[in-house]
């Protein structure tokens, strides 16, 4: 028992030392990036989850996941966070009909920020000394992707309302072709793995 407690204390000491080293050596760029990840994840939960759940004990989960994304972007936490957002979104819209267009579009933007920010933070050490202009192309590309998403999102969510509540065979065919195209592209990307 004493040996177990000693090992436990040793492990805790090592982790505390590691945290102290990280705090001491961390540079501004990676810190801002990781803080942005945490904020984006929290905002994503605020948009996707039901409001009533955000003021209960269930709030612990999104906060923990958001902090996890910032602290461990290389782990499975970003994926779990995005899945939790999507599940919260499904629960949120389960009771009602079609949501307002802003909600899925905003959620999509925040999910993408968490995804691409975690991808960038995962390969950028916390104590990196960065050249000027390192982050600008990343920010511009993210903004461009979100802008395209906004356009596509409005097209997807508003066109059915304009067309009306009746079924079109052509729309089903276009949808199927789009599905096959996306699936094929994803399979193509996967096949090029080395």
């Amino acid at each position: 028992m004493n040996a177990f407690l000693g090992a436990l204390r040793g492990g805790i000491d090592i982790r505390i030392e590691r945290v102290a080293t990280v705090i001491e050596q961390a540079t501004a760029g990676p810190l801002v990036l990781r803080a942005t990840l945490v904020v984006a994840a929290l905002a994503g939960f605020a948009v996707t989850w039901p409001v009533r759940d955000l003021f209960t004990t269930a709030l612990i989960l999104p906060v923990a996941l958001a902090l996890g994304v910032g602290m461990a972007p290389r782990s499975f936490t970003p994926t779990a966070t995005i899945i939790a957002m999507v599940l919260g979104y499904l629960v949120n819209i389960a009771g009602g009909g079609a949501p307002d267009a802003w909600r899925p579009i905003t959620a999509a933007g925040l999910i993408y920020i968490v995804h691409t920010g975690a991808a960038f933070a995962a390969v950028l050490p916390f104590n990196t000394v960065a050249t000027a202009g390192l982050y600008l192309p990343f920010v511009l590309r993210t903004a461009a992707v979100i802008a395209i998403t906004v356009i596509i999102g409005f097209a997807i969510l508003t066109v059915p309302r304009l067309v009306g509540d009746h079924r079109l065979v052509s729309a089903a065919v276009v949808g199927m072709v789009a599905m096959v195209g996306v699936a094929g592209y994803v399979a193509y990307l996967g096949s090029r793995r080395r």
Binding site: Q25, A28, G29, R74, P78, T79, I82, I83, V86, Y89, L90, I93, A98, P99, P104, I105, A107, A108, G109, I111, Y112, H115, T116, A118, A119, F120, A122, V123, L124, P125, N127, T128, V129, A130, T131, A132, G133, L134, Y135, P137, R141, T142, A144, V145, I146, I148, T149, I152, G153, I156, L157, M179, V182, A183, V186, L189, G190, R192, R193, R194
Partner: protein
Amino acid sequence: MADFGGSRVAPRSSDSGPPGTIRRGSLPTRSSRRPFAIDLPDRGTDQPPEVEVTSGWVPTRAFGRMVLLTGFLLVLAVFLRRPDLVVLAAPLAIGAALGLWRRPQAAPSVRVTTPTPAVSEGADLNASMTITNHDPIRYDLVVARLQHSRWLEVKHTGRPYATALAPGQTVGIDLDGRALRWGRHTLGPTVAYAVAGDGLLISPAGVAPYADIRAFPNTDPFQANDSMPRAAGMIGFHRSRRPGEGGELAGVRPFSPGDRLRRIDWRVSLRTRELHVVATLSDRDAEVTILLDLLHESGMSGGARGSRSVLDLTVRAAAGIAEHYVTRGDRVGLVEYGWPGRKLRASSGRRHYLTVLEWLLDTRPSPDGREPTVYTFGAAQIKTNALTIVLTPLIDPRSAGLLARLARGGRFVVAVDTMPPEQLEMLAGGGRPDDWLRHGQYTAIAARLWLLERSNIIAELREHGVPVVEWGGGGSLDEVLGLVARMASGPMTMPR
């Protein structure tokens, strides 16, 4: 955001020079007040080649996340008939499509160069790292981590460097720093990887080779009088007892055939009405053998501006003594007493002094206090007419034995104590409260006993005619050198 102090270099196509050649600086020079100031040599051939990181890009974990989430959301959208779920998946797919539309093939190349591969201990060091993107695809990120010898202080030491690289672009990063201690040091290797495709692809980590840095020891200032036990050769600084061409007046004698006309002493010749010439003693050079006792190292080295270890003191003293005698035209050789027992043949001149400095860079304490083998070290290798200066901390009784053997063999031996005085004071005083000397009940007592034993050994050596003197720089050896010279002028008695 930190600033490298580096410079962005134009793309290679418009670059007039080869990549990586950022600048060439002038070599640092030794102090001009020194009698034998030497510009340290520049070895351009020490520059390592530019090495390309091994190609073979692989998907990152984010790639798998993108595939998983896109598929998951699209399947949900179909089964739940929710087009808004397609919107959630849209940016992931769009980002991947934009990022992976064109994939990188080539890998970045990294190179660490220094225009000053040879510096003085404690002097500034100029170096740079260049990273080049040879691919037509932009790299989102290149992370390079530089490792280096602990005796080099480099700007942003211990931190990785990150930069984004446009196609064909080269980035130069300044790695200015300082060489903290003498010796051969390495700047590198550098481990680097690149990330592209919106963070979805990563190149394997590659290793660029290191650059060699030679930090020459700071020579302790040393001056000594011209007392030499024996001189050899017909040129040099020291006067001999033999008549010949030289500057030392030996007397006036009658002219004889073969005498040079410019040697005629006209005043004496007019007075005596017979030709007389000025007789001089010939000038001779001497051979100095510096014997480095490397059986043991003691103390912690703090570099050029910190505390001194035995090895620091030994190397700096050897460099100072060699500089002094080489400057005066004497021949200086070096011998290691320790494993592997290297030896540098005695010679003189500026080039030889540089050779001495190079030789000293490889000085290491003997592993496990191992003695050199009889094939590499022996008293027979030290000439009998050479002045032998033994730099020894007198830690090991074998060192005292070596000194005694050399003295009995008829060598002119001077022992220079290279144990730093601060260490002796610490041992005598019992150390500070946090020192290892305070650990254990008998440690401090044992240290004092060892000091007494060492004092006894030194006294015995002096009784046997081996002068032992503490190293104190300029003038510290004058007294013992004079003593040795007087002993050499007397009759030699060999013990039975």
